[in-house]
Symmetry: C2
Subunit: 251 residues, 2 copies
């Protein structure tokens, strides 16, 4: 990766590089912790309180917050509401981002019903699938629409975020269509590595990878009690790669 031209040594500075990636990934965690504290009626919290609520140590939390500015008061702590707003603003979730979900299989259904999406910051504007059997189905207060409508919807609703919940097979094709339509951020649940042009951000959620990481550590936990089982039945699980989650887009 090429870096910006002249960098002096030392930690990244905000104006040059923005906020470090590791910090960006924790800001939503802090936001949630602050919301929980706020809901508990707590108006002020120290970095120690906040760190506990977020599951990190306080040095890291203070360092992270220092990239945003100086929003605390020495000797006192942080005003919960104020800091919450500042973090929400920094992340960019003080307004709503329009989201489309492509691939309305099991997982797509679950996400469509997921009230957490509707939480401040995101708004599902369309559920899309290419399977005629699914088009028209009602899910909550939405209806599954034809994937062919993608371009119109992205344009009409200024969609910048797409969620892919198709099987692995059609995922790259769907991704290409999303990008061509103008979507510049993608959250991919399909078990496949997608390639996107520069300027498009992509993140991946992969259940079986998470489980395999756990399995690695599990295997290393001493011996006896935690050993995996040899299947008693003739294995009905193939040696093939992860098959489909989600619906029939393009399949």
């Amino acid at each position: 990766m090429t870096r910006a031209s002249s960098r002096r040594p030392g930690p990244p500075t905000r104006t040059e590089r923005g906020i470090p990636e590791a910090t960006v990934a924790r800001l939503p965690v802090y936001l949630r912790a602050l919301t929980a504290l706020s809901d508990s009626g707590i108006a002020t919290a120290s970095s120690e309180d906040l760190a506990t609520a977020a599951g990190v140590n306080s040095a890291k939390l203070r360092k992270d917050l220092s990239y945003l500015g100086s929003y605390g008061t020495r000797g006192v702590g942080y005003d919960v509401e104020y800091l919450r707003y500042q973090i929400a603003r920094e992340i960019g979730v003080t307004q709503d981002w329009a989201v489309v979900i492509v691939g309305i299989g099991n997982l797509g259904h679950a996400l469509a019903n997921y009230s957490g999406f509707g939480t401040r910051g995101f708004r599902i504007v369309a559920l899309l699938d290419a399977d005629p059997n699914l088009i028209g189905e009602r899910i909550g207060d939405m209806e599954v629409r034809d994937f062919a409508e993608l371009e119109d919807i992205v344009k009409a609703d200024r969609v910048s975020i797409g969620v892919i919940t198709t099987p692995a097979g059609p995922a790259q094709g769907v991704c290409d269509r999303l990008v061509a339509a103008g979507v510049t951020s993608i959250l991919n649940f399909a078990p496949v590595v997608l390639s996107v042009p520069t300027g498009v951000d992509i993140r991946k959620v992969d259940l079986s990878i998470e489980l395999q990481i756990l399995a690695y550590h599990e295997q290393r936990k001493s011996g006896e009690a935690a050993l995996p089982q040899v299947p008693e039945l003739p294995a009905m699980n193939g040696l093939t790669d992860l098959p489909s989650v989600g619906g029939g887009v393009g399949a």
Copy 2:
């Protein structure tokens, strides 16, 4: 975190520290890439081929593989099947790990139906919920069972991995029960920070955090086209934290 006593400088060595975390997290990606190559009938692949398939650069891939041993042939590359087996063995997915899913709401349903779980390495042995309306429901070839049976199931099936797909509220309680029952690895989908004793591994999958990370970068992409929308409708999305995914365990 305390470290092992006497460490000389230099990269971590395998016998002292096992494989670096960043490498462990990529091994499942390599495994999937190898499976895809194998399915395409490719018998040998260079680090460059493999790296492309896995979405990393070849230097990183070779460095990662070097922690496992020397499984390649200079001038030739890697035998796809052989390397695949070695990685599967290192991760610990040459045998099946028994998994329970707790909380059979939308997401729990989706995971229960998710054929990817059945893929080599994991076997769902129970779907659990505390909601009497859900207990007894059939999902695929399984039936939802009472969460009260947890301890018996963990013991009988030597379950070491638990997946939590309950709402945030009951998640810590469920987690405590899992740990008390002997589960030592947990994959948490509930939007809450869980605390577990030392020796228990926990990983978290959080949809709204992933979206917020995308939103941050989206916000920073120049101006115009990608600006979020101000909702036209009176916002039906509260300012509260992420509400529930999943079923009614303990709620």
